[in-house]
């Protein structure tokens, strides 16, 4: 392969900065993709997404984290426990944390249920913020909580599709967290989110001798020759999210 061609390919990839995950992805997430990060409560979705944003910010790619599930003070307090978290990235504007509920309130939207017009206004705001800040990485935590406010499957489909298309045009890579009940093998609450997404990362767990082992699986990633092997996932204060090959012998 020519050097020039190789560079072009590498430029088209958005490195997560999580070494094993980037290897599984074949280098990184194809730039501009919308990826669903699926898992039950406590599976590590928020940590993985935040690490993705912070690693990007360190590489000079501005990111924004939209939360709809937990207040910002709680989010930052949790993140302060991780070595990868750097407050300076927020102060410098490389990492932006935004509470979507506050935006909704300011827009005068009903925070519990959105009409078609509300959804459209919110979409415009998300796009405007992404454009204004020139973000290359975006996270919505969670798309499930957002979809809960969108009242029909059509609205959900339309919202995710439009959001994904406009962010892709900006070469912005997006992670949407999707909440599912524990010990279930489904990708979303509404059954629509996965079809609109370019990629699916599934964060699960299984029991070994009474202990819960976290797992990670890359189910889908359009445009990437990716691994589908299930990995064990570790979350530590020192290294954040790490992946290791899952031992196949099962008890």
């Amino acid at each position: 392969m020519q050097k020039e061609e190789r560079l072009t390919i590498e430029e088209g990839l958005c490195k997560t900065g999580i070494e094993q995950l980037d290897i599984m992805l074949g280098g990184g997430i194809p730039t501009g993709s919308t990826v669903l990060v699926v898992g039950s409560s406590g599976s590590g979705k928020t940590t993985l997404c935040m690490q993705f944003l912070i690693n990007g910010a360190i590489q000079g790619e501005r990111g924004v984290f939209f939360t709809i599930t937990e207040p910002l003070f709680k989010l930052t307090k949790n993140m302060e426990g991780f070595n990868f978290y750097d407050k300076k990235l927020i102060e410098s504007g490389m990492l932006n944390l935004i509470d979507l509920r506050i935006i909704s309130e300011r827009l005068g939207l009903d925070t519990e249920k959105y009409t078609v017009e509300d959804a459209s206004a919110l979409l415009d705001i998300l796009r405007d913020i992404a454009e204004e800040l020139n973000v290359k990485r975006l996270v919505i935590d969670s798309i499930t909580a957002l979809c809960y406010r969108l009242q029909t499957p059509e609205m959900i489909r339309d919202f995710i599709f439009k959001l994904g298309s406009s962010l892709a045009a900006m070469k912005c890579t997006t992670l949407l967290t999707s909440e599912v009940p524990p010990m279930t093998f489904k990708y979303s609450q509404y059954g629509i989110e996965e079809f609109i997404s370019d990629g699916i990362m599934f964060l699960g767990d299984f029991e070994r001798k009474g202990d819960l082992i976290r797992t990670f699986q890359l189910v889908k990633m359009r445009g990437a020759a990716h691994s589908r092997t299930k990995s064990a996932m570790s979350i530590t204060a020192k290294n954040g999210v790490e992946l290791a090959p899952l031992l196949k012998s099962r008890e």
């Binding site: 070994r208 001798k209 009474g210 202990d211 082992i213 990995s231 064990a232 570790s234 290294n239 790490e242 290791a244 090959p245 899952l246 031992l247 196949k248 012998s249 099962r250 008890e251």
Partner: protein, 193 residues
Amino acid sequence: MPNVLIDGLKERISNAIKVNQSIGILLPGSNYYDLLQALFEHIQVNSSDAWVYVTVSKPYDTLIKQYDYISEAKNVKFIDCISRAAGILRTDDNCIYLESPTMLEILGLEIMNTFREIDENTDKYLVIDSLSNLIIYNDADIVTEFFYHIVNRTRAKDIHTISLAIEEEGLEKHLNRLIYLNDKILKVRDSFI
């Protein structure tokens, strides 16, 4: 008075790891403490080498109480697989506490992460104490798979592995399968090797 058995063990360990990437030590329970002493003295004396000691047999606290000189050695890091599971909550900069000895993948990660922080030109050694105790907490098949992975990954990084296996009734079949994954086997028999 010098202990002939401990000196003999030290010599055999020292000679074996010079030429082999991984050695397995099969020993009766009655010689366990002699072997620990030989190993810790070897670690202390060879202070320019870097060691990672995985304990599944004794909590880190117990080890450093019994062999207090090893807590001051700067060339060894411990990974304690059993304290947390036993409800002992302690932190120590020299020890990584694993949630449970069943989390073998995480153990593998912690071992490799610890070695990653060590200078490339340093001779590196891993001790697994012990395979027989890992089998107490896990099924034998998964311990075999874990050990196979570890031996291969450490070999690829030029890390020498010393794995202990304490002979126990009913475990012979599993231990033999495990221990023979090593390049060399040392068998300790009460008063000789």
